[in-house]
């Protein structure tokens, strides 16, 4: 189906079903053959511009649609599709009577080859969900929201020497370091104070390899839990590890505090061992796999993700997902490597067709396993849970730099774990006397934000944090016009910064293409599974 560019509609097919995404509101419509043909005709006749001003909207039902589907079906489908476009022109929830009246008026202005019937479906249901406006683009959003998550880099050191590691350059330059317990506790105090009235906090243990400093992980976890209890806050924890070290002590702590565990494993032995080598250059996959099995077995809540990386060296990465599935893992994430073009493992533009095809192959596997009754999760096919995120959350992205910060072993603050060590991206220190105020909630009098203790003013807010508040999806020209913005949030700021030499607002066409493909498939898979459940119910 053709794609009109002026409004962010996006039409695509999957398994002979026709999907139309209203990129302005995020709504997904499933079209039958007659509606899909109507959409195709409409967008093509409008020169790819389906807006309320499109002349085709005022025309009668096209004759070739009538010939193909008959006058009744063609007229119904045409009207429903026209109603979608007209509703978007009003930019608000359209009520049924209004939509009917508008559609009917438009269809009587030219000679009709078929009589337009009354709308049989619920037009308001087709047009609800208000498009996100693009007003206030230069303004920061979620103004009142303070810091709520920290990534503690408890060990800038590792027992692996992965070729593509984004963190290793830091300890190669500055030497391996471990975070002292006192620094971790101070960071937690900083988080709690800066979070103001926020009730839900998150602490990620990261590195390097955090298991190399597990005593501090334990100490910080117990301290954070205790302090949050005293303040009436909830806290949850994540632990990202290469699993080269695994023992009962780790398992017990992670179970006791209901950690989310992220286990780094790239897949097949030859794939994993090519780039994830031990410090002495020995392979690691066998040992890691054994420990990952132990970890998954030990986790009572089964809150884990196998998090691998695919590169130019394994463009057939669906095979790695299948390998991990066959190992018994059911929560799998495989991410594209992000590295400069000088490295042999980096992804190139010419890899794109194969990667997109591989995602399709992965989707087929995903669906097959679901049909067999033994489904698994793939990180990027998991969208819109029953209690999904609001529009504000979707637009504002990940919150790096203002809701989420990384803390080095020395207490330095960075926008996220990937920014650590990059020039000009240090945001201060947890030891700064006014650190909590700089990342705390804004004062209602200065920003119209939320109230609470430690409210900062615009003048003393961290200037880099203010830049990050402006990196939301509506602030980027490409994202504003993109149908996938409400499923993507504007992409990864750290990747944009790295690959463009410092532009926080940049979009990356290569990674946008991957994101769009994954979003298409995620939408279609969700709809497909939903449809089958309804059929079987």
């Amino acid at each position: 189906m053709a794609v009109p560019p002026s409004y962010p509609w996006h039409a695509f097919d999957y398994r002979k079903k026709h999907y139309l995404v209203d990129g302005g509101s995020g709504a997904v419509h499933v079209l039958d053959e007659a509606a899909a043909a109507s959409w195709e005709y409409l967008s093509a006749a409008a020169g790819g511009s389906a807006t309320p001003d499109t002349p085709s909207l005022a025309s009668s039902v096209p004759g070739d649609l009538v010939a193909r589907f008959g006058p009744q079906l063609a007229a119904e489908a045409w009207q429903e599709v026209v109603s979608l476009v007209l509703a978007r022109g009003r930019g608000a929830h359209a009520d049924k009577a209004d939509a009917n009246a508008t559609a009917a008026a438009s269809t009587t202005t030219m000679a009709a080859t078929a009589t337009m019937p009354a709308v049989t479906g619920s037009v308001d249901s087709l047009t609800r969900s208000t498009p996100v406006t693009s007003g206030g683009l230069a303004e920061p959003i979620r103004i009142g929201t303070p810091l709520k998550a920290l990534c503690l880099l408890v060990a800038m050191d590792c027992n692996l020497a992965c070729r593509y590691c984004f963190a290793a350059p830091d300890w190669q330059r500055h030497g391996a370091r471990r975070m002292p317990a006192e620094t971790a506790r101070r960071a937690i105090d900083f988080l709690i104070e800066a979070s103001g009235p926020s009730r839900f906090l998150q602490i990620d243990f990261f590195g390097g390899e955090p298991s190399l400093n597990f005593a501090v992980v334990r100490n910080a976890t117990e301290y954070a839990y205790e302090q949050c209890q005293k303040r009436g806050k909830a806290v949850n924890f994540t632990f990202t590890t290469n699993a080269l070290i695994w023992n009962d002590e780790i398992a017990d702590l992670l179970n006791e505090y209901h950690f989310q565990l992220i286990l780094s494993l790239d897949g097949r032995p030859q794939v994993h061992d090519r780039l994830r080598r031990r410090v002495g250059d020995q392979p690691s996959q066998a040992q890691v796999l054994e420990h990952v099995h132990q970890a998954v077995e030990a986790l009572k809540d089964k809150n884990y993700w196998i998090r691998g990386t695919f590169t130019h060296c394994n463009l057939d990465f669906a095979n790695d997902v299948q390998y991990l599935y066959e190992q018994g893992f059911r929560h799998i994430s495989l991410e594209p490597v992000v590295d400069g073009p000088q490295y042999p493992w980096s992804l190139r533009d010419e890899d794109l067709p194969q990667i997109l095809a591989e995602y399709e192959r992965l989707a087929d596997f995903y669906l097959r396993q679901a049909e067999k009754g033994d489904p698994f999760e793939f990180f990027h096919f998991r969208i819109a849970p029953p209690t999904g995120p609001c529009v504000a959350r979707r637009i504002s992205g990940c919150g790096a730099g203002y809701q989420y910060l990384a803390v080095t072993p020395e207490g330095d603050l960075y926008p996220c774990h990937q920014f650590v060590g990059r020039e000009g991206m240090r945001m201060g220190s947890i030891f700064d006397p006014d650190a909590a105020q700089r990342f705390g909630p804004r004062s209602p009098s200065t920003a119209g934000g939320c109230s609470g203790t430690g409210a900062s003013t615009v003048s003393n807010a961290n200037p880099l944090a203010e830049r990050f508040r402006r990196t939301h999806a509506l602030a980027k020209a490409e994202c504003r016009q993109c149908w996938a913005k409400l499923y993507c949030g504007g992409g990864c700021t750290a990747n944009a910064h790295q690959l463009t030499g410092g532009d926080l607002q940049a979009t990356l066409p290569f990674f946008c293409a991957l994101q769009k493909k994954r979003t298409e498939l995620a939408i279609a898979l969700r709809a497909e599974l939903q449809s089958r459940m309804h059929t079987s119910a």
Partner: protein
């Protein structure tokens, strides 16, 4: 991996005869959301969290664990656990 109950409860189709809108795709956008900061931070590259922007769970629409069933969950670590489909949260579906 959504449970059957979750899917059937949340994903009723909205009917047109030729165009069906998937209910889960009709997004919530309330004024209060723009000042809310209760949900998890997310990570598109899956480095450290369990969710992307699009799969974040809204805690406002889950039972509030801080105000939940005090007799069962008060002061337990599980009562402070939220945001993911744990046994506790699935039991409430």
């Amino acid at each position: 991996m959504y449970t059957m109950q979750q899917v059937t409860r949340q994903e009723r189709r909205t009917e047109g005869r030729h165009v069906h809108t998937l209910d889960w795709s009709v997004l919530r956008d309330e004024a209060a959301d723009w000042k809310c900061d209760e949900c998890n931070t997310s990570c598109q590259s899956a480095c450290k969290t369990s969710c992307t922007v699009a799969s974040t769970i809204c805690v406002k629409y889950e039972q509030d664990p801080l105000k939940g069933d005090q007799s069962r969950h008060s002061n337990s670590k599980e009562s402070l656990y939220r945001g993911r489909p744990t046994k506790l949260s699935l039991a409430r579906v």
